[in-house]
Symmetry: C2
Subunit: 222 residues, 2 copies
Amino acid sequence: MSAALPPFPKPQETDGPTELLQLRTGTDEDEPCLRADAARNRARLLEAAARLVAEHGAAGVTMEAVATAASVGKGTVFRRFGDRTGLLMALLDHSEKKFQAALLSGPPPLGPGAPPVERLRAFGCAMLRRSIDELELQLAAEPSAERRYTAAPRRFLRGHVALLLRQAVPDGDSELLSHTLMAYLDAALVHHLTEQCGVPPARLRAGWQDLVARVTRTEHPA
Amino acid sequence: MSAALPPFPKPQETDGPTELLQLRTGTDEDEPCLRADAARNRARLLEAAARLVAEHGAAGVTMEAVATAASVGKGTVFRRFGDRTGLLMALLDHSEKKFQAALLSGPPPLGPGAPPVERLRAFGCAMLRRSIDELELQLAAEPSAERRYTAAPRRFLRGHVALLLRQAVPDGDSELLSHTLMAYLDAALVHHLTEQCGVPPARLRAGWQDLVARVTRTEHPA
């Protein structure tokens, strides 16, 4: 099987999508007086856009479709996100923040309160689910080779894995091992395996459980 | 530490560097009557260029420098490789073929004749050495996310690792595990760790031995 990726509007600036994303985050944080109903409105638009991505892929997300799905005027979507690139970047940022919150303060085993190996297992399965749902968005926003490992969202997730590995594998090089575990969850690899090789998601999840067991020298879960 | 990558002349065609590379290979194979002295001359130019990359990085490879290093006229270098991009692509192709030959028919443990775990260990250390020596070339030739896992040189190397894993880990998913081992050796990751994080090559090699031991559930070598 081979699947062409849908076109994605790249930002015109020399800065990559991630810088744009951080810029956007910064802008929002600089607006403490953003009215509560505007914030709710923004969240509602992003949830509608996320549903469209899940149902139709990134190609299905247009300003018009989001406006219709959220029952607002098209002008509202343009005012909030500027253009379609702005909307897609805001969407990735929104998803990233929800996921980070789940890791930091959500219920176990994804959040705190479970043994580190169980948290690693849950982390990988959640990442694979995200990668499969948001594959096109993540691929389109992939930074260049020189910046791939320094982009902020990736640094946070890799640091989370390294933290769990320090607890689970005190005798290992948790920094290097964390890169290895993150590589299994890389969007470009997940795309290759699912879209180009036809590997079913269940096999990817089983492979993750197996990898965590080998890396931590533990037994497979029952 | 942070290192900017030197500029690299990208080919103008829509085909990526790897297609160019395959094209070049094909062209050479279509010239069985390439005279022996011309073939020797080409090999001598490539060896000179490889020395320049090792000593000065990809930025140090100019048509003039290669001509001087190989004691030939500049015209000879232009006639053989067309332009600097052609030279750099031929260089990567040359290095790839030498490495493939070492895996297929060189002395053990890189070549056949050693136990699979030992061959995996040797493979990773040789790949890390290559990555560090040719980092700029490999990064510059990195295919886009959609083609990264289907490019021919990568497919060959990944298949080699999967073959060794089938013997070393008969109970594992050798296809998925082979992607994980290859990811540790990825040029972009090696660049990040060595150039951006200051990780010394010896630590990368030790991390590879540790990873192979964990994945194959064997002990570290003495």
